[in-house]
């Protein structure tokens, strides 16, 4: 494996020139993004340094509990981000989102690391954490898209849903087409990504492996696994998320509770 050039602290500093350029543009064009840029840079440095040292520690200790704990922390943060994006406090969406992420991402990460890659043991942190991190990061967006679609459609098509309920439909029947549209909305980005990969863009993981000296023919195999696992995790995560949140939209008498009447 070729040695990887080390990026010295002064070289990291040089990379800040891009931010300086963006900051200058913000001032010149009156974009008002100066503060966000500054906060973004500080957070990028801080979060990635912390992650780097945390990973060094986890790799050294090599404990399944730490690996699973790290995975749980990622899922909790992802569920918080998606819950916040939905802005529907009365639905109490955190628990169902957390549950659907935990189960779907857990199953997919285990299958990829333990079965497809065949890492020994399955929780080997060098494989499990980067791959699970990609599952969580990419699929989080899919669940958010699916749930935004679900809540938006239910709000817009409330009269239609109620009309079917009046005619004896069960909630699952009255929202069948919305359910499908929502899961589809979650899955489309990962399917589109398969269309463009290698032609329109070189994915970050593959680029990273090649930069680290891995044979590109091996890097593509990992990338293929990643693309396929993302389709799996977005499908499973979106389906579970939409299924669980849809149940919260109806009351015990199968009456539609979202958006709340009179609210």
């Amino acid at each position: 494996m070729a040695s990887v050039p080390v990026i010295a602290p002064w070289q990291l500093g040089v990379a800040l020139v891009f931010i300086a350029g963006a900051g200058a543009a913000s001032v010149w064009l009156k974009l008002g993004l100066g503060k966000q840029l500054l906060v973004g840079v500080v957070r990028t440095f801080l979060q990635l340094f912390l992650l780097g040292y945390a990973l060094v520690y986890i790799f050294r200790v090599n404990s399944p509990w730490l690996v699973v704990g790290g995975f749980l922390v990622m899922v909790v943060f992802a569920a918080r981000i998606v819950s916040g994006r939905l802005n529907a406090p009365q639905l109490r969406v955190f628990n169902p989102i957390f549950l659907s992420m935990l189960l779907s991402y857990g199953v997919i990460s285990y299958l990829v690391v333990g079965v497809v890659v065949g890492a020994q043991p399955w929780w080997n942190p060098k494989f499990f954490l980067p791959l699970a991190g990609m599952v969580v990061g990419n699929s989080m967006n899919a669940i958010a898209l699916a749930l935004e679609r679900l809540l938006g459609e239910v709000e817009n098509r409330r009269a239609e849903i109620e009309c079917w309920l009046m005619l004896g439909a069960e909630p699952t029947e009255a929202t069948a087409s919305i359910f499908a549209a929502s899961v589809r909305a979650g899955m489309i980005p990962s399917i589109n990504a398969m269309m463009g990969v290698g032609v329109v863009f070189i994915p970050g993981m593959m680029s990273g492996q090649i930069l680290a000296g891995v044979d590109p023919t091996l890097a593509i195999r990992y990338q293929i696994v990643v693309m396929l696992m993302l389709v799996g995790s977005t499908t499973l995560g979106s389906t579970m998320g939409v299924w669980l949140i849809r149940r919260r939209l109806f009351g015990p008498g199968w009456q539609l509770l979202w958006p709340r009447e009179g609210a």
Partner: protein, 217 residues
């Protein structure tokens, strides 16, 4: 025995009482007419009868059994509500008529053939409408009558009609009233929310600000 009874029914939405102290009895073969100013709670009353809104107090009893004890889909098939602005699926007239028969609770009901559907359309004054036509292309008045035909296919015991006459011209109004009369003569019952009397009625309730007003007629 009363088919439907509302006992001291109250509905609260967003901290405001929309209905309070409602008493209502609908017997077999009876037509109850509900009138009153807009925003008086008429539609909410119909919705509460089929549990589309949950009463905050009191209860609804249907065929001797508390509405909360019914499977909601069976309750709504037994007592079908036709809203003021019925929705048509993006499908043909025929598919819209048959749609409720695809729901789990109604799958055992007989599926009408093409002739029976055409005959039904004729009864609601839509004899010139093709079964294959997209239902979304119907006028509001036509859609209202199609919705009534769709409800009748479920063979309900009680029809709840929310302003069924509002979008109709004189001829269509007469047709719908006749249809309701026929339904009642065949042993059905109906609760009709309307500004004008829906023909010969058994009981008239006037709702104002969520309460039943003393009758003047």
């Amino acid at each position: 025995m009363a088919l439907v009874k509302a006992e001291n029914l109250g509905v609260e939405i967003g901290g405001q009482w929309i209905l309070r102290g409602i008493e209502l009895v609908v017997g077999k073969g009876e037509l109850v007419w509900i009138s009153g100013p807009s925003g008086g709670g008429k539609s909410t009353l119909l919705r509460a009868l089929v549990r589309l809104v949950e009463p905050a107090e009191g209860r609804v009893v249907v065929l001797g059994k508390d509405a909360r004890g019914w499977l909601p889909s069976m309750l709504r098939r037994t007592m079908v509500m036709v809203p003021q602005q019925p929705v048509m699926a993006e499908a043909s007239v025929a598919d819209n008529l048959l749609l409720p028969l695809t729901f789990k609770v109604s799958r055992e009901l007989p599926r009408p053939n093409k002739n029976e559907l055409e005959e039904l359309l004729g009864r609601v004054g839509l004899g010139d409408v093709e079964l294959e036509l997209s239902a979304r292309r119907l006028s509001v008045g036509q859609a209202q009558r199609l919705a009534l035909a769709r409800a009748l296919l479920l063979r309900p015991r009680v029809l709840l009609l929310d302003e069924p006459l509002a979008p109709l011209d004189e001829e269509a109004t007469e047709l719908v009233l006749k249809l309701v009369r026929d339904f009642i003569s065949a042993g059905g019952s109906a609760v009709v929310v309307s500004h004008q009397p829906p023909g010969a009625y058994t009981t008239h309730l006037q709702l104002n600000r969520g309460r039943i007003r003393p009758q003047e007629d």
